[in-house]
């Protein structure tokens, strides 16, 4: 439990990171990852998908303060490693497992010790994310507003033109619906 808590924290970092910084990190690391994937049997589109998945993982590490955006060497290395390992996992998946596309030594377990143990967690989060699309638009808006934008109950109450107690109730019902959709199917 404690291990999971520290690795998958939802707490907001004290150091704020704004979109322009994130965009710079995104741009600075994209081509290196793309080159790796393209030279290892991938396409430009696959490179983009894998890179964006990796960037989401990085963003949550930055948001929770587990990584400090000011430590650019570590941030860049983390992003590249996650993307690279995700691509290697993709190559190892059923579709590819009968062929050898990549030197096994490329898998970066030494530099990314957390990645293997995070895989199951990543898979669960990704699968739950799919079900968010099945929620009604006002549920998606409310949940994103509260958990992603961290908007206050007061602001959300104004947006939805209902009182704060009703917003809390509505949020709970939306989360229950997501739980039903996602966890009955996992």
């Amino acid at each position: 439990m404690a291990n999971s808590e520290t690795k998958h924290s939802l707490l907001l970092s004290d150091s704020t990171i704004d979109d322009s910084m994130l965009q710079k990190i995104y741009a600075d690391n994209y081509h290196k990852t793309q080159n790796f994937i393209i030279t290892n049997s991938g396409t430009v589109d696959e490179a983009k998908d894998i890179y964006q998945e990796a960037f989401l993982v990085l963003w949550q590490k930055l948001r929770s303060g587990e990584l400090d955006f000011r430590d650019s060497n570590r941030v860049n290395a983390f992003l590249y490693r996650v993307a690279r390992n995700k691509w290697i996992d993709h190559l190892r998946s059923k579709e590819f497992n009968s062929k050898s596309y990549l030197d096994e030594s490329s898998y970066d377990t030494l530099e990314a010790p957390d990645f293997e143990t995070d895989k199951e967690w990543e898979s669960k989060v990704t699968r739950v994310a799919v079900w968010i699309q099945k929620l009604k638009p006002d549920c998606r808006k409310l949940l994103t507003g509260f958990y992603f934008n961290r908007m206050s109950m007061r602001t959300l109450a104004q947006q939805f033109e209902i009182d704060e107690a009703s917003v809390r109730n509505k949020k709970y019902r939306c989360m229950e619906r997501l739980k039903q959709l996602a966890f009955d199917k996992l």
């Binding site: 939802l10 965009q23 983009k48 989401l56």
Partner: protein, 252 residues
């Protein structure tokens, strides 16, 4: 009985949520952690909520990541220059406006054949379509606030967009873009007086990148108010196709 269970579930959910978001007071947090050690089903519930929240956060972030890609890498893989300009350019909106123009023209074409004799309000409602809005890149903080409102605008939450943009009035007092979109948003909500005020400000801005669109929407606002002569003058000065079509409609 069922209500009581529902209420307990609701309270447990809120406690879990507060725990995960670090909003529990220290004493309650310690007690909750102790409870977690001994209650497997509670541990599972906490993990479910934690996974759901992370998934929601990622869902929220994905739109931004797509924008990062569009802003910096583009569709051909060539990296664009990153700038922190505070001037909002019109070029970003061009594909949307082209698409919107086609739609407007099709709509106009349909009305052309089926409409009875026009009057100002009828022409307004026939022609008025809010500007589709700008794509929403992320750069400097102040730009971000503007584009944050643009997301609401594009979601048709015009009142929220207006409240966010009006908070920026001092920062961007002379911005053609801000005044233009405030005008169109107000016009969409039928706040005609405010719409006219903002569109007139945009009209007076030197080098307004939206000058022809501003004239078109201001013309529509005047038309709705029965100020036909002022409207005609603006439509005549506006070089966008829709203005010419409104003029033809008025002449017929």
């Amino acid at each position: 009985m069922e209500n009581m269970e529902n209420n307990n579930d609701f309270q447990q959910f809120e406690k879990i949520e507060k725990f995960l978001l670090n909003e529990l007071p220290d004493r309650e947090k310690l007690a909750f952690e102790e409870e977690l050690k001994h209650d497997k089903s509670l541990r599972e519930r906490v993990e479910q909520v934690r996974i759901m929240i992370q998934a929601i956060e990622r869902e929220g972030m994905q739109d931004k990541i797509r924008q990062f890609h569009e802003n910096t890498i583009g569709t051909k893989g060539a990296q664009k220059h990153l700038g922190g300009k505070h001037v909002f350019t019109f070029h970003r909106a061009t594909p949307y406006l082209v698409a919107a123009s086609v739609l407007i023209l099709v709509t106009i074409g349909l009305f052309w054949f089926i409409s009875p004799s026009p009057n100002n309000n009828k022409i307004f409602s026939e022609f008025f379509e809010p500007d589709p809005g700008l794509i929403t890149p992320m750069s400097a903080r102040s730009d971000y606030l503007f584009y944050d409102g643009m997301i609401d605008y594009k979601l048709k939450d015009y009142a929220i967009a207006i409240s966010k943009w009006e908070a920026l009035k001092d920062t961007f007092a002379g911005s053609d873009t801000l005044n233009y979109f405030l005008g169109v948003a107000h016009l969409t909500l039928e706040n005609d007086e405010q719409a006219i005020e903002y569109l007139q400000k945009a009209l007076q801005t030197p080098d307004n990148e939206f000058i022809h669109e501003t004239r078109y929407y201001l013309g529509l606002a005047f038309l709705k108010q029965g100020k036909t002569n002022e409207a005609i003058k603006l439509f005549e000065e506006s070089e966008i196709a829709e203005s010419k079509l409104v003029l033809d409609r008025l002449n017929n």
